[in-house]
């Protein structure tokens, strides 16, 4: 065994000279001061980038007041590294990037990256009360990517499924299911990447604040089999065509729900089914509640691009709802729609919770909503 170790030492030692792709990440040799970025110290955070030949380097962050991020100038420090130290933003998860001579550059020191549609963005988690459930819990659920066959959409399609900690160890136990839908531009990985759904559920369940549940995150783009990261050709899909308009919602309710209840240990009852979605997914949530009023007892449209008629709300009320959680930011461009929906639900006497937060159409709100309504499900 000693010889194996010797060879391993040799491997590591010569890695610097070799074309070793995996080993290239090691940087334990040399006396260069390591660059740390981002570095949180007390109530400030410092960002750093080595860019010896750059003329202008700026920082852009999702916490900045400008809707498109804005920028802050960085300066070269005594080690000739571009640097900027700013007051720590409020506790939340943010994304940021550098702008080097006008070009967006990710932080090479930060392996924590979220994918927002086609963009990969470095992540900054500012710890605090609001973000306490967004980091890793001690006990982790399992995230998997099964594929279901959709006759309605004519393809095999990828899902993201979260099963809670203990699912494997308790092979007789059945669980309630939350169907959690993304918005336009997102895909089946949006809620686990930008939304921190696995971390939020892990933490809530570990703290006894939420029931252990399965969370199903489908791909809501009816022409897509999977996220574009898989490079599967897309089918043209005209959602303005009346015959196709509701096909994704139909696939969700008549194909995905049965697939989950067959292949996972799910309780197959309305009282153990919840549906929630943001933006376009909020529209899908409302559509599902209209087309299949009996299916879900928990309905949570978030910053929703959708509405319903008085008759549709009356039908839903008749079918029975345990929780209707309507949420929107007070500066969201869809806030007026939420206000109208709230008024209509009141008019029809459908008991509901109207959750209005500060801010707009952003992931910080959607994480907050999940962290809030997940505690109210299946109780």
């Amino acid at each position: 065994m000693k010889r194996i170790i010797s060879i391993l030492v040799l491997c590591l030692a010569v890695a610097g000279a070799a074309q070793a792709q995996e080993l290239a990440n090691f940087a334990f040799w040399g006396n260069r001061k390591p660059i740390v970025s981002p570095e949180i110290q007390g109530d400030s955070v410092t960002f750093r980038l080595k860019a010896d030949y750059a003329t202008v380097v700026k920082l852009s962050g999702s916490w900045m007041p400008n809707p498109w991020g804005g920028t802050i100038d960085m300066v070269r420090n005594q080690d000739l590294v571009w640097e900027v130290k700013i007051p720590l933003p409020e506790p939340e998860i943010y994304t940021y990037n550098f702008v080097v001579d006008g070009v967006a550059v990710n932080d090479p020191q930060n392996v924590l990256v979220q994918r927002d549609g086609t963009r990969y963005l470095p992540m900054l988690l500012v710890p605090g009360e609001r973000s306490q459930n967004y980091g890793e819990a001690t006990k982790h659920g399992t995230v998997s990517h099964p594929w279901y066959d959709s006759k309605i959409l004519g393809m095999s399609r990828r899902l993201t499924v979260y099963t809670p900690y203990g699912y494997e160890a308790n092979p007789k136990k059945k669980y309630p299911v939350l169907y959690l839908l993304h918005g336009a531009g997102g895909d089946e990985e949006a809620w686990t990447s930008m939304g921190r759904a696995a971390q939020i559920l892990d933490n809530l369940i570990e703290k006894g604040l939420a029931e252990p549940m399965i969370v199903v995150m489908p791909n809501g783009n009816p022409g897509q089999a999977a996220a574009r990261t898989l490079n599967i050709p897309e089918k043209p899909y005209d959602w303005r065509d009346p015959s196709m308009r509701d096909n994704y919602v139909k696939s969700l309710c008549t194909e995905i729900v049965p697939f989950i209840e067959k292949n996972f240990r799910a309780v197959p009852k309305p009282a153990s089914r919840a549906i929630a979605g943001l933006s376009m997914g909020g529209g899908h949530t409302i559509s599902a509640s209209i087309l299949y009023p009996e299916l879900f007892d928990y309905i949570c449209p978030l910053s929703a691009a959708g509405s319903a008629t008085p008759e549709q709300i009356a039908a839903l009320k008749k079918a029975g709802v345990k929780l209707y959680f309507l949420a929107c930011g007070n500066t969201d461009f869809l806030f007026k729609g939420a206000e109208e929906m709230h008024a209509k639900l009141n008019e029809q006497g459908l008991e509901h919770e109207y959750f209005v937060s500060d801010g707009g159409h952003v992931w910080s709100n959607w994480r907050l909503y999940l962290n809030t309504f997940a505690q109210k499900l299946f109780k």
Copy 2:
């Protein structure tokens, strides 16, 4: 329903003005010519980057002869976009990046990204015979990330598990298992990201070239609970300490194997267990075959950082081996070790396949090896 659609149209229309994170990926308005990169046309490929204020823009790619990639100058085209057209490299998967005024920049037009340790790198798949199993198959297996509790390493640890297409639909069927180990600098996502393990298995199984099998890809860094993308604090781990040296291999063979055989429909027999690993993982493969000679009937050290004594090889031969697949690149810095191991296996009369490829210690070889030996397992 018409009203829902109207609101949806409104949402999409105003998205440009709103702070809509998800919607920001849409670019269907405006008359700007879309930038396409990379663009394969015939036997050439063009890379493009918009960088209006940059002075020097270069392209660096893993196909270039220089071990560290080298660079090619890019020039501004008539649309003021930086561009370079090069002959298409041989069919394979490559990674590349731009260098803007000395700073590495990923291709914002390319959503296909691989993570190599802490680096995210845009991917170029050049189609052809060698790479035909590296793209998406029609039928997909399920990739999941369960966690197992390790008493030996004192933490809950994340796995990547591939179950083949049909696993869900055939609830009585049991499958053989390949344990597939990464190298130094990698983690439990290395084989699915750089290694294309799910695509390779999907394609081989779909073509009837490989037996449907489960593939288990653990994290081989004994101080890590999971990939650094999860930001879980690491435990100090001194692998030079004799009492700790083999703890990961012990956890693999006495904790992970039982966990898989309990929680997945695995055939719990040596003839249905294979182990393979690259570089450090090749060392782990050899160690496992020495410490537990009865456990695996299929043993595949790839570009391995490891060796064995004549006595250890004799013990393994006695325990019985159905396939010993020893692979290495002929310019790999570990090639001498492979040659020695080949000679030792011959001396002890352990029947084996010695697979020598062109090239070095690189993922293109490890994909080729998986694509080759996976066809020989469990037959």
